[in-house]
């Protein structure tokens, strides 16, 4: 089962009631899988006329209290930003998968991590955030999908799963099961027909003076809570490390290969791998920067997450960067070379 199919099956396990999507490479296995599986489960699959429509269909299903998702790749996700902003404003849960490809523009269909800014800064208009996962294996992709539906319902907001062409296409053994369940609030806001109760309204327009500011403050308070409670990251051999490599997603897998080899050469190197990209593991990185260590950020972009790493390090230690934009994939050797170079720098007393 490839990553795209695994994430689709994970959504079904998570209780996704409806999938809406529009074809785009490299995530076409998702709609194809859903077209077959959702009707088998008595659930909804619609191929929409555009990504604008797909995210609006998600909006509609979600407004009635159903679990809904869509998936796309970078150019399609740009079109979906309208609906994602409306979901955030209207406090509606949804799961959006971005199997990233090279950009800007039509770019190419090679794997990429160039949509980090778009995903972690909200992406569309207005002061909002989305929870963003950056899984680095097919198993983690599955686990993140299942968690994403719960988080969306808990915090009433869109949750994005950032994968890339490699993760979507690769196959790995995977266990498909829902491991944990959260206690979730009742959806008493859902549009189900005003039977024996007052009318429910789902809206993002707040015209009365001060009303939108109050609404934004409410959202921000929720985002603060998420930053406190929902950060996920993995650390490996950071304690004695002179160099700490930070990477997420498939880039982190390549980093792992390089770090393993560097350790074999006797270089003291470890890694920190954010699993949630927003909320970002700022505290964990800041703590690791208390000791003098050189941070190396590796991304399949010209440098996006590196800004968050620098903010987290807060000037305590240097942050180096190695990136490959436009669908370029860094090799283990490239990263290993970079680590070796930094070792020389680490030895210079400050």
């Amino acid at each position: 089962m490839c990553g795209n199919e695994a994430l689709a099956e994970a959504a079904i396990i998570a209780g996704c009631d409806a999938y809406f999507g529009y074809p785009i490479t490299p995530q076409n296995e998702v709609p194809a899988y859903m077209a077959r599986r959702m009707p088998q489960e008595g659930r909804v699959f619609v191929q929409s006329e555009s990504e604008l429509a797909a995210i609006s269909m998600v909006f509609g299903a979600s407004a009635t209290g159903k679990r809904a998702m869509t998936s796309s790749s970078s150019p399609g996700i740009s079109l979906m930003q309208e609906g994602i902003s409306y979901l955030a404003g209207a406090e509606l849960p949804a799961v959006v998968v971005n199997v990233m490809r090279g950009g800007p523009g039509l770019g190419n269909i090679a794997p990429s991590q160039a949509d980090y800014f778009q995903a972690t800064r909200g992406g569309g208009h207005g002061d909002y955030r989305t929870i963003v996962f950056g899984p680095s294996s097919v198993q983690e992709l599955v686990d993140c999908m299942i968690l994403a539906f719960d988080l969306a319902d808990q915090y009433l907001m869109p949750v994005m799963v950032l994968a890339d062409g490699i993760l979507g296409q690769m196959m790995e053994p995977v266990v498909l099961e829902k491991k944990t369940s959260r206690e979730l609030p009742a959806k008493d806001w859902a549009l189900t027909g005003a039977k024996d109760r007052d009318q429910n309204i789902v809206r993002s327009l707040w015209l009365k003076e001060g009303a939108l500011e109050a609404h934004n403050n409410k959202l921000q308070a929720r985002y603060e809570q998420i930053q406190r409670d929902e950060v996920l990251c993995e650390q490996y051999e950071v304690d004695d490390a002179e160099i700490v490599v930070v990477a997420y997603g498939i880039a982190a897998r390549i980093v792992r290969g390089a770090v393993t080899r560097a350790r074999a050469e006797g270089i003291k190197v470890g890694w920190i791998r954010p699993i949630t990209l927003w909320p970002f593991p700022t505290e964990e990185i800041n703590k690791a920067a208390d000791e003098f260590r050189i941070f190396l950020n590796v991304e399949m972009s010209s440098g996006q997450m590196v800004e968050d790493v620098k903010l987290a390090v807060a000037g305590k230690t240097p942050v180096a960067f190695h990136g490959r934009p436009g669908g370029g994939v860094p090799t283990v050797d490239e990263i290993l070379d970079k680590i070796r170079q930094l070792t020389l720098r680490a030895k210079i007393p400050v």
Binding site: V58, S62, A63, L191, G193, A194, N200, I201
Partner: protein, 244 residues
């Protein structure tokens, strides 16, 4: 004393934000009356557009959502597909339905979504200050056609209902008007039929277009606006059943 007319419960008891002489108030009342007469208040979900009717949920006492400009038919698709037992209607203006949402209405009709669409055609963008709409008449002066609409430059009035009637997925399309009592009664009949089709589970989309006055941006008094519908608009947008 005998009550011959009263506010129907689904229409809220409040003053609307609509301008004097606007047709939205009439259209809202008709929708509310039909919902109450069909006894579907408890299972109806309405979709408000971006446009003058964006606050429709302040006047219609059913579950409602307000959505992005042009996207009501896609939102309605998401709702109806996941809730086939609910009655879903979208209430859209000409900018919302015929311009920015042209793809959404076309494809919802094309897929034969079992929804009811209420299309208010007042030949102008009201909310944003009277700009040209796809349905703006030739020679009509608007904020963005200061010398009047010229077909060769800005296109001709778009007859969306005729276009949608060609799709196999649409089952009922009728163009009505709210410019006088007789036509208001006809409009209500059409709306009732459109909702009934959905209640009966008929396979496809139904749409009622209503020609509606916008005296402020037509730059004429309300009574004159009603005459303009009768004398001018109906020439380009002929009334009657286009399908079903």
């Amino acid at each position: 004393m005998k009550t011959v007319f009263k506010r129907t419960p689904t229409l809220k008891d409040c003053v609307t934000h609509y301008c004097p002489g606007c047709g939205h108030g009439i259209a809202h009342r008709l929708v509310a009356e039909v919902i109450d007469e069909l006894g579907i208040h408890d299972r109806t979900i309405g979709i408000a557009p971006v446009g003058c009717a964006v606050l429709a949920y302040d006047y219609l006492d059913v579950d409602m959502v307000e959505v992005a400009h042009g996207r009501p038919p896609a939102v309605a698709t998401g709702m109806k597909r996941t809730n086939p037992d609910k009655i879903i209607f979208s209430y859209q203006g000409d900018g919302d339905l015929a311009s920015i949402g042209a793809a959404e209405i076309l494809h919802a009709g094309h897929r034969g979504e079992q929804i009811t669409v209420i299309f208010i055609n007042n030949a102008v963008y009201g909310m944003t200050g009277g700009q040209m709409a796809p349905t703006t008449m030739i020679d009509q002066v608007t904020a963005t056609t200061p010398r009047g609409r010229v077909g060769a430059e800005q296109g001709y009035p778009l007859q969306v209902s005729e276009l949608l009637a060609t799709l196999p997925g649409t089952i009922y399309i009728e163009r009505c008007s709210v410019h006088d009592p007789a036509h208001i009664r006809k409009s209500k009949k059409a709306l009732r039929h459109a909702f009934e089709l959905q209640v009966d589970g008929a396979q496809g989309m139904s749409l009622v277009e209503m020609l509606s006055p916008c005296p402020v941006y037509w730059r004429m008094p309300p009574a004159k606006a009603m005459e303009w519908i009768e004398n001018e608009m109906t020439k380009v947008f002929p009334l009657g059943r286009l399908k079903g």
